[in-house]
């Protein structure tokens, strides 16, 4: 018996890793929704109404009530729908660890990787690469410690969804911006996990097309040089 999800609207941008997190979570839970693609240079009135503080995507609106910030939205999706699939672990300690790593990815991994990609000056680039490598090493060690298919164990969980940037966007940034970061010799566990994650039947169908994103990044890098 399908769950009645109510009215769900999801505002995103195709290339945004944060928006795709929400999309993956909605699909994993089997939630039906209406999607609105935003143009960030010309934001819709609805987006500005539903997220007046940050004016960003993703935004989820459930029965007229808006939510913003991807990790907040993920927890809501987990608590509100389909108890048969758990995005967060059950035990309070494991939950706290999952939240910690998701936040670490947002505050350290993604910004350091993005900085490394878009920094041109040699010395500064080396420094940025070092910082990104250190951040990714912590994630690598975490995977190694638990030795499961996913951060969430046998199934995709909060940290896997948060780390989707590492699995899909990071390699494209490496290719577009002449960056060497996630090598298989330094990060064997992250490599293996990336393969599992991007080939997962739900994830595979909910990532942005490779060529479009690569083209966008290449153009940006060319403009910087």
């Amino acid at each position: 018996m399908a769950e009645d999800c109510g009215e769900v609207q999801f505002f995103g941008v195709g290339g945004s890793p944060y928006a795709r997190r929400v999309q993956i979570a909605l699909k994993l839970k089997g939630v039906k929704y209406t999607y609105f693609e935003e143009d960030l240079r010309n934001k819709s009135e609805l987006l500005l109404k539903y997220n007046p503080i940050y004016k960003k995507v993703p935004v989820l609106v459930h029965n007229g009530k808006p939510l913003a910030e991807s990790l907040v939205i993920l927890e809501y999706i987990d608590e509100n729908w389909n108890k048969n699939y758990a995005i967060l672990p059950q035990h309070p300690y494991d939950k706290a660890m999952a939240r910690f790593w998701a936040k670490f990815i947002d505050e350290k991994c993604i910004p350091t990787v993005v900085k490394a990609a878009w920094t041109i000056q040699n010395e500064e680039r080396e420094k940025a690469i070092q910082e990104a490598t250190e951040a990714l090493q912590f994630i690598e060690n975490e995977l190694k410690r638990y030795n499961h298919k996913f951060f969430g164990g046998d199934t995709i969980g909060l940290v896997d969804i948060a780390a989707s940037f590492i699995a899909y966007w990071l390699p494209l940034l490496e290719e577009a911006a002449d960056l060497t970061l996630l090598t298989v010799d330094k990060f064997p566990n992250l490599h293996k996990w990336s393969q599992e994650f991007t080939n997962h039947p739900v994830v595979k169908d909910n990532l942005p097309p490779r060529n479009g994103l690569l083209g966008f990044y290449k153009a940006r890098y060319a403009a910087l040089k």
Partner: protein
């Protein structure tokens, strides 16, 4: 039948608003704990072992296992010692809003506040403007409710009230009157201070001020 309190340790630094959040949460739940003060110039081997990634307080060590990041710890406390009072609402949407505002406070209050008392002198007026803007946003969210949590003190109140121990410092070193801009928020502060959990967990504002002066002397303006 409650959770075992015998092995709860908090690694703290007394002027830290983040540490105060955890103390308030533990007090609200009636959890007894050992509080250990850290010295930032000489971090203990326990802190480095329990939080190797950020090397920061607060860290809650429960039965030997560390939990880091203050709002993460507050949620953990609420879930483990799940008797009343509840810090987070039970309704998923209200919970999401509480987390959203906790996150907003994390992103804005400390960094904007620090620029007011320790920022570049030439940027002071702009820093004050930004700080007040943030407080006004929070006052708007509070609205006419007694607490951010509604009728009951909750997660967002816990997230914000520690910073009020720094208000005297912001006002004195920043040369501004917070009450003039956000009177309702100041009213809320007084209401929170009537709660034992808050009164016991916040240092006297003058002690914070003395600390801030010494810090500025030692580190200069940033």
């Amino acid at each position: 039948m409650g959770e075992d309190n015998s092995n709860v340790v908090l690694l703290d630094f007394w002027p830290s608003s983040y540490g105060m959040r955890v103390k308030i949460a533990l007090q609200e739940k009636g959890v007894s704990y050992e509080c250990r003060q850290e010295d930032f110039e000489a971090k203990s081997s326990l802190l480095l072992e329990m939080n190797p990634i950020h090397k920061m307080i607060p860290v809650l060590i429960h039965n030997g296992k560390p939990i880091c990041e203050s709002l993460n710890i507050v949620e953990y406390i609420d879930e483990v010692w799940n008797h009343k009072p509840s810090l987070l609402p039970s309704d998923p949407y209200k919970r999401s809003q509480a987390r959203f505002w906790g996150n907003y406070i994390d992103k804005n209050v400390y960094s904007r506040g620090k620029k007011v008392w320790n920022g570049k002198v030439e940027e002071k007026e702009e820093s004050k403007k930004q700080f007040i803007e943030c407080l006004k946003m929070l006052e708007e969210e509070l609205g006419e409710k007694p607490y951010f949590g509604g009728d009951e003190f909750g997660y967002v109140d816990v997230a914000l009230v520690p910073f009020t121990s720094w208000f005297y410092t912001y006002e004195t070193l920043g040369n501004l009157s917070i009450e003039a801009f956000v009177p309702k928020l100041v009213g809320w502060t007084k209401r929170c201070m009537e709660k034992q959990s808050v009164a016991k967990s916040l240092p006297h504002p003058h002690n914070i001020y003395d600390f801030a002066l010494k810090y500025r002397e030692a580190h200069g303006y940033e």
